[in-house]
């Protein structure tokens, strides 16, 4: 068991982070906290990619004298792209949140539902 944890601790951390993010997205009522949870969720996957790129005895994938092996640079590049996607997602989410605040005066999910249900006579089905 200890061996397993010692050998795979990086993946275990990824899974823990992922679940923390997932919990925040599901359980939190505040939209900002949901966005934070979403970012943690995405970041855990980035860490997963980065940690799998590590090769035993590998160094940074730059040509230099004395290098034995290089780490796999491809996941790094993929994650650069994914980080851009993640930043854009967060930006769009925050922009939407600002609009929600302008429309309702709150960013609590439950309060928005109350307002919406009160106005349309409960016709907003969910």
């Amino acid at each position: 068991m200890i061996d397993f944890i010692a050998a795979k601790y990086n993946y275990l951390i990824c899974v823990c982070l992922m679940m923390i993010g997932f919990y925040a997205v599901i359980a939190k009522q505040n939209l900002m906290k949901k966005i934070i949870g979403l970012s943690i969720f995405q970041t855990s996957v980035f860490l997963f990619y980065i940690s799998m790129a590590k090769v035993t005895d590998g160094t940074a994938p730059i040509v230099w004298e004395g290098a034995v092996r290089y780490d796999n640079p491809l996941p790094h590049v993929l994650i650069l792209t994914a980080i851009v996607v993640s930043v854009s997602t967060t930006a769009v989410a925050i922009a939407l949140m600002i609009n929600i605040y302008k429309a309702y005066g709150t960013i609590e999910d439950s309060k928005i539902r109350e307002i919406e249900a009160g106005e349309s006579g409960g016709s907003v089905s969910r």
Partner: protein, 502 residues
């Protein structure tokens, strides 16, 4: 240098160039933006039709970006299935742009128009990119381009709840995309490649590997959320109801279909066919959820009082057909499924536009307020009826053709209860569309004492012509179904026969 060789890359990049250009044009004159958008999509559509013609005669095209040979370089690979889906996406986007001009002017504030058209083009670019690419990570990137522009498009609506609907879709959509990228990571870990054709080769010796199965499960989960299959559909009704009608039409007609395409591509071209019939009953699970989606989508649609919500739940049901077709793994069913991608895009796109026009005129989305529309907007009501009959699957409409092949496929693969599900759902569909048609034609607007019916409502020519055209196509391809069915059959053969991808 022959330009036509580069069409696979140009069909994505040419509209992409228009994305930043359109807001700049908007600074000069907001009216030009629409023309520029039409130009961008038309260029892409023309290239796609050239490619479709070429692929159907000469076989699949493999385009190496920057001349880097796959699996190291990124490959754009087009066989009959891609080409068919590309043609559908591009055609529907073009029609929604032409059709949507008046609706967008009415539903989106004027200062937002340049941004709206720019993001709309980006939305289409994302979908064509997802369809054309042969690289798994590229699928993820284009998926996020499509989704992000989709969230923005939904939020352009003037409705108060629109940003909230968009936000909920964003949260669920991002979770789905992250599941997909995690699954891709698992696959990369065990195979060391991202190219689909290469991946298919390297996955074969790993049959039964738990990593591959986990990857499959994660990717499947992500795609099913994007397709809005029944228990994972919660984002869809709000997203379609609160977005501008032009956006709901384009999204309902195309974005879930692209998800279906990616699923078919992965099921048949990447993962070995034995995964579907081997120890883990993946196809059985998919068939179960597809059937659940078909029945529950229709049942919930019956209960709706809001017309756009009804159409949204109907979409949940209809996407189930495509999923069902894919999971039955045989040529006839898959022909039906690919055909349904085409026919559902026509019908549902048309329905959302018709409803958009009616809703704009009467200012209400409640079905009960549609009384007398049959008299007040005769062309629109007629088009609505044709699209509805087609979705129900009445013979001589395009919806019948795809359902016919689905049933044939279910018979030849022995999925008898699937036939029951299809027939039951047609009945349920007839109930909820019948209700609307009844209200439109037989309620209100007339009485026995010869009182004048309510005044006619405006039906601008710019909208009647595209509407009539799409309705005509619905019937034309229902009677002369040979052309699309042959293309769909070739597409099914291309993925099932393993001729092109193995």
């Amino acid at each position: 240098m022959n330009l036509a060789v580069n069409f696979p890359a140009l069909l994505v990049t040419v509209p992409l160039i228009f994305v930043p250009v359109i807001p700049l044009l908007g600074l000069i004159n907001r009216k030009i933006c629409w023309y520029a958008a039409v130009l961008a999509i038309t260029a892409s559509f023309a290239m796609i039709m050239t490619i479709l013609a070429k692929v159907s005669t000469e076989g699949p095209i493999s385009y190496h970006l920057g001349n880097w040979a796959p699996p190291i370089g990124i490959e754009y690979r087009i066989d009959m299935l891609n080409a068919f889906v590309l043609a559908v996406i591009s055609f529907i986007s073009l029609v929604s742009l032409l059709f949507g001009k008046e609706l967008v002017e009415k539903e989106v504030p004027e200062y937002k128009h340049p941004a709206f058209y720019s993001v709309f083009i980006l939305f289409v670019v994302g979908m064509t990119g997802m369809t054309v690419t042969g690289d798994l990570f590229n699928v993820y990137v284009f998926l996020e381009i499509t989704s992000l522009s989709g969230y923005a498009l939904i939020a352009t609506s003037k409705k108060r709840y629109a940003p909230m609907a968009s936000f909920n879709y964003l949260v669920i959509g991002t979770l789905a995309a992250t599941f997909i990228v995690l699954g891709i990571g698992y696959l990369y870990m065990v195979t060391g490649t991202l190219n689909m054709a290469d991946l298919a080769e390297r996955i074969k010796p790993l049959n039964g590997s738990s990593v591959v199965l986990t990857a499959y499960a994660l990717i499947l989960m992500g795609i099913l959320i994007k397709m809005a299959v029944f228990p994972l559909h919660l984002w869809l009704p709000d997203a379609y109801t609160y977005s501008p009608s032009a956006v709901s039409a384009a999204m309902a007609a195309t974005s879930t279909k692209v998800g279906a395409y990616v699923l078919i591509r992965l099921m048949f071209s990447v993962f070995d066919i034995e995964y579907h019939v081997g120890s883990v009953p993946i196809t059985g699970i998919i068939i179960f959820f597809a059937s659940l989606s078909i029945v529950m989508g229709s049942v919930i649609a019956i209960a709706q009082t809001n017309i756009k919500k009804m159409l949204a739940y109907s979409s949940v049901g209809q996407i189930g057909y495509i999923l069902l077709a894919a999971a039955m793994v045989n040529a006839e069913a898959l022909t039906g499924g690919v055909m349904h991608i085409f026919s559902h895009a026509l019908m549902k796109g048309g329905l959302f536009f018709v409803v958009g026009l009616i809703v704009y005129n009467i200012g209400s989305e409640r079905i009960s307020d549609f009384a007398g529309i049959g008299r007040r907007m005769p062309f629109t009501a007629a088009a609505f009826t044709i699209f509805s009959l087609s979705i129900i699957g009445i013979p001589l409409t395009v919806g019948f053709v795809s359902k016919w092949y689905l049933v044939l496929g279910a018979i030849s693969s022995g999925h008898w209860y699937a036939i029951g599900v299809i027939l039951l759902s047609s009945l349920l569909t007839a109930i909820y569309f019948g209700k609307v048609i009844f209200v439109m034609y037989f309620k209100g607007g007339h009485d026995d004492h010869g009182h004048a019916p309510a005044a006619k409502l405006s039906e601008p020519m710019g909208m009647v012509i595209p509407m009539a055209f799409v309705a005509f196509l619905c019937i034309y391809f229902g009677i002369f179904a040979t052309f699309p069915v042959e293309l769909a059959a070739k597409a099914a053969e291309a993925v099932l026969g393993g001729v092109t991808w193995k």
